[in-house]
């Protein structure tokens, strides 16, 4: 089948216009909260109704790979718990006393006020209340009412708040080997933690220092390092570009978009070359490192041969995931494992202009004669219908598809996208040289047995 014959459905998915069954993301408040939780030392301060933290803890901790509330999540998140009286008289006073007492009581390096729907509707001047405390502690606020966007928007809102309120206006002297990583939203991209660590380890091998903003011991410190980066890397076809643009405008930092999280040796090598060449890593270093890493990776790869060929060779598969995860997984399974991509459903909300890139990455330069149908859909009922009457034997999706996979689609299922209620994901990753075989380990573990 040639590309021309490929069925590509590009539904107009204007998600704010629709009613949706079980969308695979939360609101912008939730997305920002997830970022705060993973900035070590940062304290989330909800300026919202009392249930926002409760709901987002459940949604973006347990629902994102059964992650616990940790030090600042769950019942530890501050909240102004707004009521009817605040709708009438405003909630600024409540917010002020909350921040004041929070600073007194909490061991925090950075306070992040996350406003929800109520203050946005009633018009609280959150910026002004927050500014009263700027002398005392590092404190910022996000532009995140629940009705202005989803968790991806919340991720971007957090980055923008950091850039605008925490970082200097003038570019400092750049550090030659330092790059910032964007495009991987904590919790929402369920392998965020492991992926970011793996990117850091992989870069270290060629002498690049990755400034990781989430999941590191250095929370505030790494945020403050953002301006020193010589280059910004965006690992998504769309997410994080706003922040990269903003930094370009502010500090003149160039950025590279590598539109997915590379899984397995082939794409990881391509990724390293693309980034390495941009920031002046020598060809020799790139060649020697990638060759060594590939040799190690393919040594392992060789040993998965028997179970793959005896158990599930040339399998049709479908992917339901956010764009940067979906592309990485699909390219690996198709280009290295020899699987047949039947269908890819993209469940984040890429803007129209990035959809061509997504389709291109999923359907061009792939080894398989079968090109996947690419569909953009956020409604879980529609996704279920789209998965019916297909050939796929593997379904790499969210845990919402776990039981449907066996009963309706007769396929083997593995959770690789949000929500993931059926796996504990703390540092698991399919990124990098080792990531491909890690993915196969998890897939094979779903069906292997004595033959």
């Amino acid at each position: 089948m040639s590309i021309e014959q490929t069925q590509i459905t590009q539904e107009s998915c204007n998600d704010t216009e629709s009613v949706i069954e079980a969308p695979r993301y939360s609101c912008s408040l939730g997305g920002a909260y997830a970022c705060v939780l993973e900035t070590t030392g940062a304290i989330p301060v909800f300026h919202s109704g009392g249930g926002c933290g409760f709901a987002q803890w459940w949604a973006l901790s347990l629902g994102a790979g059964e992650i616990g509330s940790g030090r600042t999540g769950g019942a530890n998140a501050l909240c102004s718990s707004l009521l009817e009286e605040h709708v009438v008289f405003g909630g600024e006073k409540k917010l002020r006393s909350l921040i004041k007492s929070g600073i007194e009581l909490m061991n925090g390096d950075l306070f992040v006020v996350i406003p929800g729907c109520i203050p946005a509707i009633v018009g609280d001047d959150v910026a002004s209340v927050v500014s009263e405390f700027k002398e005392q502690v590092p404190i910022i606020h996000t532009n995140t009412s629940g009705f202005v966007g989803n968790s991806y928007d919340g991720y971007e809102a957090y980055l923008i708040a950091v850039i605008e309120q925490l970082l200097p206006k003038i570019a400092p002297e750049k550090q030659n080997d330092l790059v910032n990583i964007f495009g991987i939203a904590p919790r929402q991209h369920v392998f965020w933690g492991g992926d970011l660590q793996e990117i850091k380890r992989t870069f270290e091998k060629v002498g690049i220092k990755a400034n990781i903003l989430f999941g590191e011991l250095e929370g505030l410190e790494n945020l403050k390092k953002i301006p020193y980066a010589t280059h910004n890397i965006v690992l998504s076809p769309w997410l994080g570009i706003k922040a990269a643009e903003k930094l370009k405008e502010l500090y003149g930092t160039e950025y590279t978009v590598f539109p997915f999280v590379p899984v397995g040796p082939k794409e990881t090598t391509r990724f390293l070359y693309q980034v390495g060449e941009k920031i002046g890593i020598s060809k020799e270093t790139l060649k020697s490192v990638t060759e060594t890493e590939e040799k190690k990776a393919y040594r392992l790869f060789e040993f998965l041969g028997d179970i793959l060929i005896l158990g599930m060779p040339s399998a049709y598969y479908a992917v339901v995931a956010d764009s940067n995860a979906a592309i990485g997984i699909t390219r690996y399974l198709t280009n290295e494992v020899g699987y047949l991509p039947e269908l890819v459903i993209i469940t984040d909300t890429p803007p129209d202009e990035s959809r061509k890139t997504i389709i291109k990455e999923l359907t061009e330069n792939i080894e398989s004669d079968i090109k996947p149908e690419v569909i953009f859909e956020v409604d879980s009922h529609k996704i279920r219908n789209l998965l019916k009457n297909r050939k796929f034997m593997f379904l790499l999706a969210s845990s919402m598809e776990r039981f449907l996979a066996a009963e309706e689609f007769h396929a083997i299922h593995l959770s690789v996208s949000y929500p993931t209620w059926d796996r504990l994901l703390l540092a698991r990753s399919y990124m990098g040289y080792r990531g491909g075989t890690a993915l196969i380990e998890d897939m094979v573990s779903k069906y292997a047995g004595p033959m």
Binding site: T16, E17, S18, V19, I20, E21, A22, P23, Y25, S26, C27, I43, F46, G49, G50, G51, C52, G53, F54, A55, Q56, W57, A59, G63, G68, S69, R71, T72, G74, A75, N76, A77, L78, S81, L83, E84, V87, K94, S97, L98, S101, G102, E104, L105, N107, G108, C117, I121, S145, G146, F147, V148, N150, H381, S398, S399, M400, R402, F403, P419
Partner: protein, 514 residues
């Protein structure tokens, strides 16, 4: 303020289904507070004398709202219903586990093969905030009907739908003729009440007003059991078995019920409590409009209370004779085991003192669980209670008479206060949950307060004779290895500053009454 409170002791208990929703718990119960620290006896005395006033906290943590104290994950399990959350996208984000809930229960343990839950969000946007969300709600109702042909459609409201003033009842009455499903609006706007128990009343109000039918016949063997997500599948099956031995049938609502089970609650012989504060509004409503009697105390945890609970049910169903047979059979089966376990509790402390326990959570669970601890010979230095209202006074008095006095910390999932009391009371048994902040970090044991609804293992059960044995075993198991809380304590930092634990008052940030 005093007028209201004195009035509370003789609350107007009528349920007005002409209204679109219930009064808030603060009004209905005369008072409802979510901050108190003191002896339970004093709490009751203060309540009766009208001294309980709401006080705000300067420092507050996210403790849930009317919508997001699990209303979504509760309503979304009604088997032939569809839930519509009329809210921005984040308000229902905790409900994405809907296709997996209960799936750990094997079909042979009573889970229907083809359970298929559905819910939609109206996904309110900025545009809807400006122009109103009625059209989207209408669209969602029609979409729910078209997609799933449900028996019922539940509409859950939110802060945003409330503040922008969407006329929910207007939409319902205009769309109802176009759909076969019965539409049930539930007014759970997050900001409407400071007490999360209003969520229960709001849910039952919607169900009573729109769904419950006039009884066609009386089902003399039917027992309504309003059940929370904190009771497990094993608890459920055990109650079915116990009541079955008496020739009775359990009607578990609303968790995992059918629309018909909700419609026919009016035909039941009695409404019995598992969590009295959860079922209060429903029980009163069913009695008032359909003559279904109810009781609120005791709930069936521990042997003595299970006896009493079964006898009360028997009294309403004419099973006075057989209940004695069932009780004696069950006791014969389980008493030897519970006696061994009681012995283990008694011998636990080298100095022969009673081991201490810090547990409970809602006022309903407090009333259920503390008598069990007492029966096991444990001391109760303090207990958590999410909130406290005028409806619980009489049952609290009965319980205090049984178990003696203890300190109550009334707070709704306030992590700092719970960490404080945990550290300072330092009980032998600490029953906790993920909503309790830093309380995992200690040098003694921790374990969970309860398991959740989809757990089919007997190991996790708590209800009745069998559940009491399981729970006692479970607690004892927790003190055999303290490595997890100890490792956390030793190796991870605390989020609260040291001074917090050194000053004596967990309610340090309580502001004076307004």
């Amino acid at each position: 303020m005093h007028d209201t409170i004195n009035h509370s002791l003789d609350i107007d208990q009528s349920i007005n289904l002409e209204e679109k929703t219930c009064p808030n718990r603060e009004q209905r119960a005369g008072f409802a507070i979510k901050a108190y620290y003191g002896n339970a006896s004093q709490l009751v005395k203060d309540a009766k004398e009208g001294h309980l006033e709401h006080k705000d906290r300067a420092f507050e943590q996210s403790g849930g709202c009317i919508l997001n104290f699990f209303t979504t994950v509760r309503i979304s399990t009604i088997q032939d219903g569809v839930m519509i959350v009329h809210a921005p996208v984040g308000c229902s984000a905790l409900a994405t586990g809907y296709r997996e809930t209960f799936r750990a229960v094997p079909v042979e343990l009573g889970r229907p093969q083809n359970v298929d839950f559905h819910w939609l969000t109206t996904n309110l946007s900025q545009k809807d905030v400006i122009f109103g969300g009625k059209d989207k709600l209408r669209k969602a109702i029609l979409e729910a009907e078209k997609r799933h042909s449900p028996k019922s459609i539940f509409i859950l409201t939110s802060c945003v739908s409330g503040i922008i003033g969407d006329d929910i009842e207007g939409v319902v009455s205009s769309v109802q003729p176009e759909v076969k499903a019965k539409i049930v609006p539930i007014h759970c706007e997050g900001h409407r009440s400071r007490v999360i128990q209003t969520a229960y009343d709001a849910m039952w109000h919607g169900i009573l007003r729109y769904l419950v039918k006039k009884p066609e016949k009386k089902q003399e063997d039917l027992v309504n059991l309003p059940s929370m997500l904190s009771y497990t599948w094993a608890d459920r099956n055990y109650m079915i078995k116990l009541l079955g031995k008496m020739g009775l049938r359990a009607n578990f609502i609303p968790e995992f019920s059918t629309t018909e089970q909700l419609e026919t609650m009016s035909e039941a012989a009695v409404t019995a409590p598992l969590c009295p504060t959860f079922s209060d509004y429903l029980a009163r409503g069913l009695e008032q409009d359909y003559g279904v009697p109810y009781f609120t105390y005791p709930s069936p945890m521990g042997f003595a209370h299970t006896d009493e609970w079964l006898r009360k049910i028997a009294g309403y169903t004419g099973k006075e004779e057989i209940v004695e047979k069932v009780i004696s059979e069950e006791r014969k089966l389980w008493e030897p085991e519970i006696n061994i376990l009681k012995e283990k509790f008694i011998k636990l402390k080298p100095d022969g003192s009673k081991p201490t326990v810090l547990g409970a959570i809602g006022q309903g669970r407090l009333l259920t669980q503390n008598p069990f601890f007492h029966e096991m010979g444990l001391a109760l230095p303090a207990t958590f209670c999410l909130d406290f209202d005028g409806l619980a006074i009489k049952d609290f008095e009965k319980m205090i008479e049984e178990v003696g006095d203890f300190k109550v910390l009334v707070n709704t999932f306030q992590g700092a206060e719970q960490a404080h009391i945990g550290r300072n009371v330092n009980p032998d048994f600490y029953l906790t949950c993920p909503m309790k902040g830093g309380s995992y970090k200690r040098n003694k044991s921790i374990t969970r307060i309860h398991a959740l609804r989809g757990d089919p293992t007997q190991w996790s059960a708590q209800i009745g004779y069998a559940g009491s044995v399981a729970f006692a075993n479970f607690m004892l198991q927790s003190i055999n290895n303290k490595a997890f809380p100890k490792t956390l304590h030793d190796k991870t930092a605390d989020i609260y500053k040291d001074w917090w634990y050194k000053q004596p008052n967990p309610l340090h940030y309580l502001e004076e009454a307004q």
